[in-house]
């Protein structure tokens, strides 16, 4: 710059400001990890029918609330005191919204623990398989969303949206199998009802993970979803039972 | 063992404190003495003038008669200075008529159109000229006008030129100063309203500077009314009433000069009377003008 001091190198800003932004980020990531753990443990508890494990998840609910509230306070204080603009403003408002979605993810893990019944379930193999795949896919999505948030990685964030389609597809498959089983005679209907809910929970968790990614991209670049993703045309789909192929597990 | 130390401490502080007070009072006294020293000449002049001229000034006809001739007897005439008062008023008025417009215009040029180097030249020249001895002003006018324009050789014209040579630099300097005191914000405000520069200068800036300009003009007039040297070889002096602008004339400083050196006591007395009169006139004009200028300032918004 013609020998003049590069203005970007000379940080004239009070250190507190930068620390506050970093703190907001840290809180969001901390809450995300907490919610992620609730999700993993909630699913495991339901899947293996472990009531004790389910209880621990249920007890973590208050901490989730506290993290959410503290985050809200910190973000509002930052907005009022620092009157941020541009990137800092987007970060603050983006993080506020992100924590809402992280809260949802934690809550959905909580819901999974809530419907845990004793002992592993007796659903058909193909259903179990589908749910397993939903689980791994969703886990990866949430993990990537949290990484994108914590490390400012828009590339990881953009990756997520593809995976969402996969989850939708698996969700539909799960519903079809369950419908088939419900029409059949020898089924563990209680367990099937649980599986139906859980499949939906996975879909919701994936959706919230996408929202986290969306807001992360907004905070970092200012782009809104409509600027980089084509609009999905949704239509109601007709639910038909899946073809037979699954068997109850032998025990 | 704190008692002795405390006492010693107290004395020490007392000394320092007392010394400071003593010093402060000493300076105050010294200032008072210098004021007295400065005022003493002025007071003694006034006193002398009163003592020696007081008896003469209040005679009837002092201001309406011509100066007396030389006279050695004891009952000589000691009136009057009529033509000299008349002459002073005329020549000073003429000089003011030249100096005020020229001086104010030059000052405006120097101050408002400063960018051109001429402005700075005017300012500098005026500064230098205020220090020129008044007799040289008279000599200059003599050397140029009296010698080359015989029709006005010794006249009110050349007399007023000589006084102008003294007044103009004073007016230029004080007016320039008064203009400088007007904040630049005023000029900018006027220009930004779409008022042309000359209108802004004359009708806003100059008006704002008016008290200062008036004070400067007053100063110049008082200085000019008391000068004898420049009139010595221009107006020349006379003992008779006004004969015409192109003729010689009388003036109070000239009368004082000539009559003070006179061997005739009656004329010397008249000189003292004239001194007292001139002094009083200057004093009164001074006081009245300053009052009016003060009123002007107040009316203009207490600037």
């Amino acid at each position: 710059m013609n020998g003049e001091t590069d203005p970007l190198a000379d940080t004239g800003r009070p250190r507190g400001y930068d620390l506050e932004i970093r703190d907001l980020k840290k809180r969001a990531v901390e809450m995300g990890e907490w919610a992620f753990a609730m999700f993993r443990d909630g699913w495991r508890a339901f899947n293996t029918g472990n009531l004790a494990a389910a209880q621990t998840v249920l007890d973590r609910d208050t901490e989730l609330d506290r993290l959410d509230e503290d985050m809200e306070h910190a973000a509002i204080a930052f907005l009022v005191l620092r009157q941020p603009t541009a990137g800092d403003l987007r970060t603050a408002t983006g993080l506020l919204k992100i924590t809402t979605h992280l809260d949802r993810i934690g809550r959905l893990g909580f819901d999974m623990a809530r419907i845990t019944t004793s002992g592993p379930g007796k659903e058909p193999n193909d259903l179990r398989d589908v749910l397993q795949r939903m689980d791994s896919a969703t886990e990866v999505m949430v993990r990537e969303a949290l990484d994108a948030l914590g490390k400012d990685r828009t590339d990881l964030a953009r990756d997520l949206f593809r995976k969402d389609d996969e989850i939708d597809h698996l969700h539909r498959q799960a519903n079809r199998i369950i419908l088939r089983e419900l029409r059949g005679k020898s089924s563990d209907t209680a367990r099937l009802a649980g599986d139906l809910l859980v499949a939906r929970h996975f879909e919701r968790i994936a959706d919230n993970a996408c929202k986290v990614a969306e807001k992360t991209i907004y905070a970092l670049t200012g782009q809104r979803r409509s600027e980089y993703l084509p609009r999905h045309a949704f239509k109601p789909y007709v639910l038909e039972p899946a073809p037979t192929g699954g068997e109850s597990p032998s025990d | 063992m704190s008692l002795p130390t405390r006492a010693a401490h107290r004395t020490f502080v007392f000394d320092r404190h007392a010394r400071r007070k003593l010093f402060s009072h000493g300076i105050a006294v010294l200032s008072g003495l210098t004021v007295i020293a400065v005022l003493y000449p002025l007071v003694s002049i006034v006193y002398e003038a009163f003592a020696l001229g007081g008896s003469v000034i209040f005679q009837p006809g002092f201001l309406t008669s011509v100066p007396p001739n030389a006279c050695s007897s004891l009952s000589c005439n000691t009136v009057g200075i009529g033509p000299d008062v008349q002459g002073t008023l005329i020549v000073v008025a003429m000089a003011a008529g030249i100096s005020i417009p020229v001086g104010v215009m030059a000052a405006i040029f120097a101050s408002e159109y400063r960018a051109k180097g001429v402005g700075r030249a005017i300012s500098f020249t005026a500064d230098v000229l205020t220090g020129v001895p008044s007799i040289i002003c008279g000599a200059f006018v003599y050397g140029y006008f009296v010698v080359y324009y015989p029709q006005i050789a010794y006249s009110f014209y050349t007399g007023s030129f000589a006084l102008s040579a003294i007044m103009i630099p004073i007016i230029v300097r004080t007016t320039e100063e008064a203009l400088r005191v007007v904040p630049n914000a005023t000029r900018e405000a006027a220009l930004a309203l779409g008022i042309s520069k000359w209108k802004a200068t004359l009708r806003i800036v100059l008006v704002a500077a008016l008290p200062g300009v008036a004070t400067g003009v007053l100063l110049a007039i008082m200085r000019a009314s008391g000068e004898a040297a420049p009139l010595l070889f221009t107006l020349l002096g006379s003992n008779i009433w006004f004969q015409g602008f192109n003729k010689e004339g009388a003036a109070m400083p000239l009368l004082i000069y000539f009559f003070a050196l006179s061997p005739y006591p009656n004329q010397v007395k008249v000189a003292w009377g004239a001194t007292l009169f001139l002094l009083s006139l200057i004093l009164i004009v001074n006081v009245v003008s300053r009052l009016l200028i003060h009123r002007m300032r107040v009316r203009m918004g207490g600037v």
Binding site: E4, P7, L8, D10, T11, G12, R13, Y17, Q83, P84, T85, A86, G87, D88, L89, R90, G222 | R114, A115, P183, A185, T186, E188, A189, A190, L191, A192, L193, G194, I195, S196, K199, A200, R203, I204, V207, A208, M300, G301, G302, V303
Partner: protein, 251 residues
């Protein structure tokens, strides 16, 4: 965006040999408020003073380029006429101290022609109303201008500028010498002025620019860095330098 009222082309201004602003190209839309922000020494005051030809009144000042009012280059016109069409309000309130309130407001009229007493009265009342000062001074219009408070004096200067019926009003940091309440009054006033006038305001207070201006220009070291709708500039600035400035990293 409204049609462009005032624009600059390759505007460069010098003090002696040094350019204070260089190659500035700006378009100010009519009946809108445009703000110019930037750190000290960025040239924003110089720029605004070029817009009504006040810059050249300073010794050794020089301008290159064009400033077009309704597509006419003001540097080819009579400067006195230009300044009647483009008015200015300064940083420190500068009423004519020797004049009354009435005479201050009517100055532009009285010095440029001799309108009737009724016409002058009407203009004075209207201008004082537009400047939101009429109610406070209506029973003492003949009082000296210096008897008003700082905020009132500045509104008086605004009324005085408006009385000349300009098309554009330039304001050079009009609130920096005022307290917050006076500032708020003037900001509100500016919001109303844009119904009739094109306003260009220089401010060092970014929140003020955000509150008051439809468009904002950011200048740095004599160059125009960015110009756009205020919302965009403050939420998603295009230039990293702009972002660094408005988030307080320098300046």
């Amino acid at each position: 965006m409204n049609p462009i009222k005032l624009r600059t082309e390759h505007l460069t201004a010098f003090y002696g040999e040094k350019p204070a602003i260089s190659e500035v190209k700006l378009d100010f839309p009519e009946r809108a408020v445009s703000a110019i922000i930037g750190p000290s020494g960025c040239g924003k005051s110089t720029l605004i003073r070029c817009l009504n030809r006040m810059h050249e009144t300073v010794a050794r000042a020089r301008v290159e380029g064009q400033v077009l009012l309704d597509n006419e280059d003001i540097y080819q016109l009579d400067p006195v006429r230009v300044r009647r069409r483009i008015g200015m309000v300064f940083q420190k309130p500068n009423p004519f101290v020797t004049m009354s309130i009435y005479n201050n407001v009517s100055a532009a009229l009285r010095f440029n022609g001799r309108p009737s007493r009724e016409e002058t009265d009407r203009t004075v009342v209207r201008s004082l109303q537009q400047a939101a000062l009429w109610d406070e001074v209506k029973d003492r219009v003949d009082a000296p201008a210096v008897s008003l408070s700082g905020g009132q004096q500045q509104r008086l200067c605004i009324a005085r500028a408006l009385a000349a019926e300009p098309e554009v009003l330039l304001m050079d940091e009009p609130c920096s010498a005022l307290d917050p309440i006076a500032t708020a009054k003037i900001e509100e006033l500016v919001g109303k002025l844009k119904d009739e006038y094109t306003v260009v305001i220089v401010t060092h207070n970014m929140q003020q620019a955000a509150r008051v201006a439809d468009y904002t220009a950011f200048m740095y070291l004599g160059k125009l860095i960015e110009f756009g709708p205020t919302e965009e500039l403050f939420e998603r600035p295009k230039d990293t330098l702009t972002e660094a400035y408005i988030t307080g990293r320098f300046g």
